[in-house]
Symmetry: C2
Subunit: 214 residues, 2 copies
């Protein structure tokens, strides 16, 4: 069966996947860009924006796992837009006319709207359903390929808690945020079901990988 994967999900040392005070001009709240500096510097990220340059090396090697084999993404309402986007009928996500997904994307929200077809193969679908049912739909749309759980922290945590994730790559950034949305909350159960690897790189990032035991 196809796998369910998390990639390049960044948290602070104290476990926050986003800061406090998310808004249109502050997609990560008071965290600013600090959770993703390591990622936007990579060659993988540059290429996603059709930019030259960016670093090769250990951080980029992890970053590059993001897309290969992925046929659909699931994300939360908090990743799709700032608080209140549901009141704006024209909101189409943060990513402009040609979002970097190029697959169907399923947005979990309690206020669904009709699907939006974007350029480059991305279609946003809006679902108000359980994580398992959303996954079933994404699997069908992915047509045998893998499904990425794209964030934010609430949605990744929910999928982890339900045991639905096969592989998760979490990048721990050496900052302390103190407040925001925690990834780690009541996830004691993971300890028994995953093999966990840790790799720290010279830039200070610790890459954790969780691989589900067979």
């Amino acid at each position: 069966m196809s796998e369910v994967r998390v990639h390049n999900f960044s948290i602070s040392l104290d476990g926050f996947g986003t800061g406090e005070g998310q808004a249109l001009d502050a997609p990560f709240g008071h965290a600013g860009e600090r959770l993703h500096e390591w990622f936007v510097g990579t060659r993988f990220f540059h290429a996603m924006d059709d930019l030259p340059g960016g670093t090769l090396g250990a951080d980029n090697a992890f970053a590059e796992e993001h897309n290969p084999g992925i046929g659909a993404e699931i994300m939360g309402a908090g990743k799709f837009g700032p608080p209140g986007w549901q009141d704006d009928p024209d909101w189409k996500g943060w990513w402009g006319p040609n979002p970097p997904y190029h697959t169907p994307v399923f947005v979990l929200t309690h206020r669904p709207r009709p699907s939006i077809e974007m350029e480059g193969g991305t279609t946003f679908h809006f679902l108000d359903t359980t994580p398992a049912e959303a996954l079933a739909q994404a699997r069908t749309a992915a047509d045998g390929a893998d499904v990425r759980i794209g964030g934010g922290p609430t949605v990744v945590r929910n999928y982890l808690a339900e045991g639905l994730i096969d592989y998760a790559h979490i990048a721990v950034v050496p900052i302390l945020l103190g407040r925001g949305v925690r990834l780690w909350d009541n996830l004691e159960s993971l300890n028994h079901t995953y093999n966990i690897e840790s790799v720290s790189t010279p830039t200070g990032i610790t890459h954790l990988t969780f691989t589900k035991n067979q």
Copy 2:
């Protein structure tokens, strides 16, 4: 001036420095021995108990920083004994007649008792005072040497929050505890005052070091 240091302080990936349900037969609650397996396996730990063997290598290298230059320790009531030890006039700590400190040890407690002199140079003193005042007393007792903040998580967190720690070595163990006492709580401020290094070792431990900016 002498430095204030934390060494070999172990936390889970989700940031807990001890589990839930601390008791006489469960010093770390439901965490059991899992937070310290890496540490008790080292040659440093074996030598502390006058045992032969134990591993050399990266984890042991970090472990060995524990004692050199230290002239006193400060610990919390929760490290000194299980809940309720204050009601037992004969309680002298977990460590037998010759505790592995060999220096004055200051126990922070709201129910202080007279000092206890043990074999091997360890004397337990009991203080009901502020972190800063306890540190002043420990510095005097250390006579120019450094002071170790020994734990548990509550006491380490309090000293970090007050900006009183010069160097902290935190060992992140690849387990998820889900519940217990968190080290990371409202420590956003650290981000601006410390240089943070991360080193993961082949055993899966990530050693974080916090070094105060000059």
